[in-house]
């Protein structure tokens, strides 16, 4: 999954916007955005943070600066265990041409010590948007790990895994009420890119436009899972 290959595949399956959200890591997001320059594909930069509770939360930003600040918070609250490539694979950093730019030696697959509220606060402070990911999965999904939506959840939308349709999700979890739902491919390999898509009516690929879409402001809309 090199940056140019991700862009080529995303354009090829007809996506207009993607988000790069490595687990607890921001090191490849800028390279994918650079690789997409001139392609027509917009790239939101972000991270999938694993909270202390064991919940996965997507944190999306327009710019790298606040994402890098979130990364510093994550580094400060991540166990310092080294990665074992034989067990967990390499954690490579690639440039926009897909060439090796380095690797991350710290194990990224563990939980941070940051609780859900702290992750949301850090993300909001940087102008970012939180969306708990695959909320219906027993592994790291908010609704399964914490049982139901926390009263103080700031996220304006929830991501549902591809296993459930919107109707199934709302029936299984009545507590989500009218909160907007999105579907992402959670692609860990090129073939999965575009597997699940969400249709937005927005004027540009930005965090602000997504917020407006979730709120239904000024003609923007989140139309749910694309057929």
């Amino acid at each position: 999954m090199t940056p140019p290959a991700i862009v080529e595949r995303a354009v090829g399956v007809g996506l207009h916007v993607i988000a790069i959200t490595d687990h607890n890591a921001a090191g490849n997001a800028a390279a994918v955005r650079r690789a997409a320059a001139g392609s027509g594909l917009a790239v939101l930069v972000g991270m999938e943070v694993e909270t202390r509770e064991g919940v996965h939360v997507l944190c999306l930003f327009d710019e790298m600066g606040p994402l890098e600040e979130l990364q510093q918070e994550v580094w400060a609250h991540l166990p310092t265990a080294p990665n074992d490539p034989a067990l967990f694979g390499e954690q490579l950093l690639l440039d926009e041409r897909g060439e090796m730019a380095g690797s991350c030696d710290r194990l990224l697959l563990t939980a941070t010590g940051l609780n859900l509220a702290a992750v949301e606060a850090q993300c909001a402070a940087g102008g970012g948007l939180t969306i708990p990911s695959h909320v219906d999965r027993r592994a790291y999904g908010l609704l399964e790990v914490l049982g139901f939506l926390p009263a103080d959840l700031a996220a304006p939308a929830l991501e549902v895994s591809g296993r459930l349709t919107e109707q199934e999700a709302r029936e299984r979890y009545p507590g989500i009420a009218g909160r907007p739902l999105v579907w992402g491919s959670d692609a860990h390999c090129l073939a999965d890119i575009g597997k699940c898509q969400t249709l937005f009516e927005i004027g540009a690929a930005s965090v602000a436009e997504l917020r407006w879409a979730f709120a239904g402001t000024d003609g923007r809309a989140c139309r749910g899972r694309a057929a």
Binding site: E53, N115, A117, R138, L146, G147, P150
Partner: protein, 111 residues
């Protein structure tokens, strides 16, 4: 067995709702996946977990649990303790791991 006796035997630190420590404990449950706890734990049980999020209090109230033992040096969030106090849910903390807490409870006759 009363929660207060369990707290004394295992040297647990009561952190909320100490007036409710005289509750009878009718069994135990160990788990950190709250959806599974909601499906499996029974009223009157004491619940051993490493989760410290405020949602644990709601789960305990919903199920009528006797109390929550936060294992492995977990530090309940301020919002969790406030809610537990308001709802009368005893939270007891310990440095013991969940495995050892469960074993000690079993030895005490909590089954």
């Amino acid at each position: 067995m009363r929660l207060a006796q369990i707290a004394a035997e295992l040297d647990l630190q009561p952190r909320s709702a100490q007036a409710s420590l005289e509750r009878a404990v009718t069994g135990g449950h160990v788990g950190d996946l709250l959806s599974a706890v909601m499906a499996q734990a029974k009223p009157g049980q004491v619940w051993v977990t490493v989760q410290v999020h405020p949602n644990i209090v709601a789960v305990a109230v919903l199920l009528g649990l006797a109390g929550i033992i936060v294992a492995a040096n977990g530090e309940p969030e301020a919002g969790t303790l406030a809610r537990a106090e308001a709802e009368g849910v005893p939270i007891l903390c310990t440095g013991l791991g969940a495995f050892e807490v469960a074993g000690r409870l079993y030895e005490l006759g909590v089954r």
